[in-house]
Amino acid sequence: MSLDLKFNYTEKKDTRSGFGDGFLEAGRKNPNVVGLCADLIGSLKMGDFQKEFPDRFFQTGIAEANMIGLAAGMALGGKIPFAGTFANFATGRVYDQIRQSVAYSDKNVKICASHAGLTLGEDGATHQILEDLGMMKMLPHMTVINPCDYNQTKAATIAIAEYEGPVYLRFGRPIWPIFTPANQKFEIGKAWKMIDGKDLTIFATGHLVWEAVVAEAMLREEGIHAEVINIHTIKPLDTEAILESVKKTGCAVSAEEHQLNGGLGDSIAQAFIRYNPAPLEYVGVNDSFGESGTPTQLLEKYGLNAENIVKAAKKALKRK
């Protein structure tokens, strides 16, 4: 039985490739764009930029703290540095460097974090950071972006080069459906209502936007009409769009590849509590580390796939 999906795909690619291609394009558009990477150029897909602009690219070696400081220094000299490594080493390992030299100093540094979340897969929990959105969104001045597929990641990468200020851009490794349009315009801080609905709202970010699209079709088969909103920008959060939707639907589910503590769901809950109390169910990782496995296996084991969004939706509906 095939689902009647409102968004579909013909091709799959990793979001990190969207980053790499967007980075190259941003570099072509603006000569001030420079790159840094801590011995993960291939993994981050920064190689094309490096080849085309060798004088604007800096291999830092395995030294992430230094890389963040370098980027801050380049930014104050007028460059737009994109500093790339795995999400774990781009946040937890260098939190103090980001806090002092980038966020507090308000430097135009783009922290580019790949291999975020469970879908990193086989490398296991040492690399599967699930706390990064929380850490980054707590930092004053920091913009936090978590796009959902290749096209959106590419567009987001180009957009952050044009935005002045520190940004955390999160993307990943798995080959994932490309279900959003090519050459889309990416508006930082503007939620995207992908599917109109009336019974509940699914707020999803990152890879789980695709799962939300699938869940919407599954719910529709049972006569439940879910609204799907793509929250690619975790901070600043589009509170207006979120509240407008839940005022109409009356309940919601949040879906993210992140800890429940400190994630997107928490930000949405804050908005609900303050402005429009409504039932909210969380889909995310519940206070645990990940483990080795394939992305699909892990999303299933940790309750982060379309089936779990459907379950959460039914729970939320009962609480209306």
Binding site: A65, L70, A72, L76, G77, G78, Q97
Partner: protein, 283 residues
């Protein structure tokens, strides 16, 4: 800026020490020891060496830039910035007070002219300085970047990441100075965590190292910085090991870590100021 004579500069050093002592005394907090020891360095740099523009531009294009990595020396830096015209000298009295631009540790957030990056959490400034030096290189801006670090600060791993990086990239428009006073918070560095042979360490990392053995003698400090400048542009980053005495200029403060982070009381302040008679006029 017209260069000033040695006696004139000497007077500024004395004034800087007076400013530091009065600033930390007024709020009974802050770090007097190291800035007292670095007075000659600050004055030599800002009044003799830097090609800089007190009409402050964040990106510092076309001018020499200085970063204070050991941000707890803020009182000394604020004094030399004010005395060289970045902001009114009277503002020194707001040091560490509510709503001041003169935060406990240097910050850009309040837009104090002269500050380009926050510091205080040790170990980060060298990386920032290298990044800015490379931005200058990309822009073919041949001015220099200076940074000051503490010797205890060198215990931070990030410093050595940065050291390795600068040598690898041949960042040669950079002069890093280490305030080699042999002291840190908990005692002498030799006891807390021995730095052993610093000159050999930096050389092994690929840096050109010069030693300024008389770091509290103004003429020597200037000569050291001149020498450092003459070595730039030759493919290697420059390290200036500046031998200073913590607390220099006040007999009961000199040479001990006890004044690293303790302010003088009223009586001690009077005693100390009595030993620093040359003044340009206190704020």
């Amino acid at each position: 800026m017209k260069k000033q004579s040695l006696p004139e500069l000497q007077k500024i050093c004395s004034q800087l020490r007076r400013d530091v002592l009065r600033m930390v005394h007024a709020v009974q907090s802050g770090h007097p020891g190291a800035p007292l020891g670095c007075a000659e360095f600050f004055v030599a740099l800002y009044f003799d060496q830097l090609h800089h523009n007190p009409d402050f531009q964040m990106n510092g294009k076309g001018e020499d830039l200085f970063f204070l990595s050991n941000g707890h020396l803020s009182a000394g830096w604020y004094s030399v910035l004010a005395r060289s015209g970045y902001f009114p000298v009277a503002e020194l009295k707001t040091f560490r007070k509510l709503n001041s631009r003169l935060q406990g540790h240097p910050a850009t957030h309040e837009h104090l002219p002269g500050i380009r990056i926050a510091s205080g959490s040790l170990g980060q400034g060298l990386s920032v300085a290298i990044g800015t030096a490379q931005a200058k290189e990309i822009d073919q801006d041949n001015s220099l970047v200076y940074v000051l670090m503490g010797d205890g600060e060198l215990q931070e791993g990030q410093v050595w990441e940065a050291a390795m990086y600068a040598a690898h990239f041949g960042v040669d428009n950079l002069i890093a100075t280490v305030d080699y006073n042999g002291q840190q918070i908990d005692g002498p560095t030799i006891k807390v965590m021995d730095l052993k042979n610093l000159k050999a360490k930096w050389e092994a990392f690929g840096w050109e190292v010069i030693e300024t053995k008389e770091g509290n003698d103004l003429a020597s400090v200037i000569a050291g910085l001149e020498k450092a400048k003459s070595l730039t542009g030759k493919g290697k980053p420059i390290l200036n090991l500046l031998y200073t005495e913590m607390g220099y200029g006040v007999d009961f403060m000199v040479g001990t870590h006890k004044w690293h982070g303790s302010p003088p009381n009223d009586e001690q302040l009077a005693l100390a100021l009595g030993q620093l008679e040359e003044t340009l006029g206190d704020y």
